[in-house]
Each structure stands twice: as structure tokens, then as C-alpha cells.
């Protein structure tokens, strides 16, 4: 059992809406991944360092905090700067995608444009490729 957990692909979801955390966590688990969730800035930084996830999914509107600040801090930290970050949000405005890319985000995906199962499958496929490259 422990061995199986160890082999699970770890993904960190930075999101402040419990309903969404629950939904994506359930589906990712179903697709054989382990999703951890952080709901605010400092928690996200802490978990990125201690849990060493393979991928970070980042929402941009986190209560009174901005996901962009989290992204900046993740990329500024030696320990977390190489973890790929996918911006996963429903917030969109002019120039935002470019800004995220500039700050080092690997991708920008709108939640509304995908379904949880499709998204989980895409992520798992992506992680598989990355692991293959290693």
C-alpha cells in the first residue's frame, strides 16, 4: 500500500474554493495521481518545498492574494523554481496569458474549457512523458 502511494504522481493544486479542490482531488485520485491542495500563498510555498510535487496547478484569484505573486515566489526560490507551473483558472483578461508566461508558467488553461476527467488525463499523460524523458 505504502509502496503504491510512493509511486503516485504528485500534483499540488493551489486553489481557494473547497468545492473545486474536492472535485479535482477526487478525479485525479481516480486517474492514479495524488493531488495535494494549498489554499493560500504561504501554504503553497511551504508545500511546494516540502512535498516536492512534480507539477503545480495554480489558480490566480486566491481570496485577497494573487496567484501571480505565488508564481513569482515559486520561480524565485531555488528549491521550487524547476517545478513546472500550469496556471489553471477561470480568470482571464487582456495580457494575462503573456504575463504568466513571462513569469515562467508552462501553460495557461481555463477551467471552463475542460472537464475534470479530460484534464486529469491530459496531466497524467504530460507527467508520463516528463518521467520518460528523465
Amino acid at each position: 500500500m505504502l509502496e503504491r502511494l510512493k509511486n503516485l504522481r504528485k500534483v499540488l493544486f493551489v486553489e481557494d474554493d473547497p468545492a473545486q479542490i474536492f472535485m479535482y482531488q477526487s478525479v485525479f485520485e481516480l486517474e492514479g495521481m495524488c493531488m495535494m491542495a494549498a489554499s493560500y500563498h504561504q501554504e503553497a510555498l511551504r508545500m511546494a518545498q516540502t512535498e516536492e510535487p512534480e507539477l503545480i496547478l495554480l489558480d490566480l484569484l486566491l481570496g485577497n492574494e494573487s496567484g501571480l505573486d505565488v508564481l513569482k515566489d515559486l520561480k524565485a526560490n531555488q528549491k521550487t523554481k524547476d517545478i513546472p507551473v500550469i496556471v489553471f483558472t477561470n480568470y482571464e483578461k487582456k495580457g494575462l496569458r503573456e504575463e504568466c508566461a513571462k513569469l515562467g508558467a508552462s501553460d495557461f488553461i481555463l477551467k471552463i474549457q475542460t472537464t475534470p476527467v479530460d484534464f486529469a488525463k491530459t496531466i497524467r499523460a504530460g507527467l508520463g512523458k516528463r518521467a520518460g524523458k528523465k
Binding site: 481557494d16 474554493d17 473547497p18 468545492a19 473545486q20 474536492f22 472535485m23 477526487s26 478525479v27 481516480l30 489554499s39 493560500y40 484569484l61 481570496g63 485577497n64 483558472t89 477561470n90 480568470y91 482571464e92 483578461k93 481555463l110 477551467k111 471552463i112 472537464t115 475534470p116 476527467v117 479530460d118
Partner: protein, 421 residues
Amino acid sequence: MEKEQKIQMEKKLGDSGCVNKNCWLARNLNYPPSKRCQYCELKFSDCLFERYLLISLILASFLLILSYLVEKNISKSLIVSIFVLIITYGYFFNKSTEKIIVSNFEEKKAKNAFKELNGTLQQKVVKATAEIQAGKTKVESALSVEKEAREELQKLNQAKTEFLNLASHQLRTPISVIKGVASMMKEGSFDKFPKDKQAIFVEGLYDKALKLEDIINDILNASEMASTKFKVTPEHAEWIDPEGFIKELVSGFEPKLAERQIDLKLSIEKSPLPKILCQQGFLKDAVGNLVENAIKYTPSAKADTYTRNIREGKAEINVSVFQKDKDIVFKIQDNGIGVPKEELANIFKKFQRGSNARDMYTDGSGLGLFIVKEIIEGHGGQVWAESELGKGSSFFVSLPINPSKDINIKATIIERAGEDA
């Protein structure tokens, strides 16, 4: 007075028949003895012609006496020649002094005219400068009004863009959950979850549907307020008891208050209060919105699922109803996050939210208070707020006890909506 007289004399000087008031002779004769005198202002003692006559007389007498002493005789020819000399010389003297006096007069007149012209010119310049200044001020004030209007418009535009960005996020968030769960049901993965998990999914689905409904209602209400479609029919207006109304309204919030562990105290000043004329459904929306805001923006020891701003201390909301002059006032007071002072004036405008409220909850359309204002003012009432940042806010709704007989709530709202549109 003396000056006035002088001006009077100056005016007449040079005119035919001008009497020189300084001249003893002219004054006593009351007419100028010579044409030259109408240009003269000298005293009689200073009169050149009079002096000429005097000196001529002395000289003639002196010559006659001298001739008598030398020749012991005064010849007729001497007398004749002296008088011929005096008369001839007098004639030319008279002519030349007349020219001098007239030219002096003309010079003086020209100087005065020039002085007057100068004065008038200066006055004109001062007047023109003042006019230009006034014009400039007018243009400046018009420009500043235009600038203010432009800035207001820019702010509104900015608020609209921001609203659209946020609204799209607000609408998408519940939809993405609803769509996500629905897609799992469709694909069959939903059935793979245990029953307890499925129940949580369904509950989340329902919550998000309610949230979506709230947001859509807010947007629809606000756009209706700004169009003439908004209908408040006078036949639906009714006289209600404020006490019963507020008691029923507040009881509806009990589950939410219990969930957030917030105390709500209700106080009625005196019973019974005079009745008020209203459209109950709309008034419920308006006052209910204020109570809901008070609950929402009062962080308690137990935060709800949408916020993490947990604050120490007991959250308290006080709702009171009282009579003030000819109005019934509902007061909803909380000890919540408050509104920044500089934003207080704008919170009833469309698409405006307190910046701290926006930080606390990313959702919220910025339309709630706008709707409250439209409804209350449509009833002929008023709504206002007092607040201290970090300490809490008080919102007031006042409705007239005796609305004017021809009050037509529908017409008022439509009229106001027309102004806004």
C-alpha cells in the same frame, strides 16, 4: 462743492458769454467786457489789459509832468502824440494778449481732453481685463466640469471592464464545477466514487447552482433597474407594519447566523410603529441585502466556506427600527470589515465594491447596493451608510410615513431608470 463749481466754470470757459468768476469786473458786470475775457480765468488784479492801462496812465502822467517841468508848458501836440501812442500800442497789445489767452485756453482744453481720454482708456483697459478674466474663469470652470465628467466616465468604463473580467470569472467558477460533475456523470466516472463522496458532489453541485442563480439575479436586476422594463406596479403597494416585516425578514437569516456563529440583536424603538407604504417583495430584497452584507462582511470565529479572513472577537449585528421625524428608519449595524473612507461615497454606484470587500471575497457583482438604492429611492425613501474601516458599518434605510398622496412607486422608479439609462 468747490471742485464742482470749478468744473462747472471750466465747462463754460471758452463759450461766448462765459463769466469769469475770478474777475472782479466781469463778476460785477456779469458779462465779459471783452471777447478775450471768455477765455480768461485770471483775477481782475492780474488782468493784463488792466495793468497795461494802469502803466500807460502812469507813464502818460509822468511824461506830461516831465514836459511841464522842463518846458514850463504842455504842448497840445505832445498830449495828442502820447494818447495816439497809447491807443495804437493798446490796440496791438489787446490783439496779442487775446491770442495768448486763447492759445493758453486751447492748450489747457487739449490737456484736459487728453487727461480725460487717458482716464477713460485706463478704465476701459481695466474693464476689458476684468471681462477677459471673467471669461477665462468661465472657460476654466467649464473645462474642469468637462474634465470631471470625463474622469467619471473613465472610472465607470474601468469599473465596467473590471466588472466584466470578474463577472466572467464569477460566472465561470460555478459553471466549471457544475459542468465538471455533470461530465463525470455522463462519462460514467461518477459511479466509480463511493456513495458518501457522490453525496458531497451533489451538494457542491447544488451550492454552485444557487451561487450561479444569485450572480445572474444580481446582473439581471441591475440591468432591469437601468431600463424602463423594471416594473413596480402601484396596485401592489401595501401598508405594512415595520415591526412584523423586520421580524420575519431577520428570522429568515437564522440558519446562516447560526452557521457563522454571529449574534443578531433586533430592537424596536416602540410598538406599534406607524405603518409604511411599500412593495413588500422589493423592500425585502433591499433590506435583506443589507442584512446579508452585514453577515457576509463580518468575519467571525467561524469563517464560511468562501473566506479565510478569520478575526478574533465576537461578531455582532444590530438591527433596529425607529421613527425619526416623519420617517421610519431601519438601521443595520455590524462590527465587520468596514468600508474605506474614500470609497464610502461610491459604494451605492453600479459596479462599485469596497476594495477590502473585493479582497475578502472575489465573487460579488458590485450590484447589490446599487439595487438597494434604486428600490429604496423608488419608494421615495433614502439609503445611506456610515463606516469605520476595520470596526464596522451602519447602513440606514428611511421610508416616509406619509408618502405624498399621489406617490406612484412605479412611475418614480421608471423615471429614475430613464435618467440613468
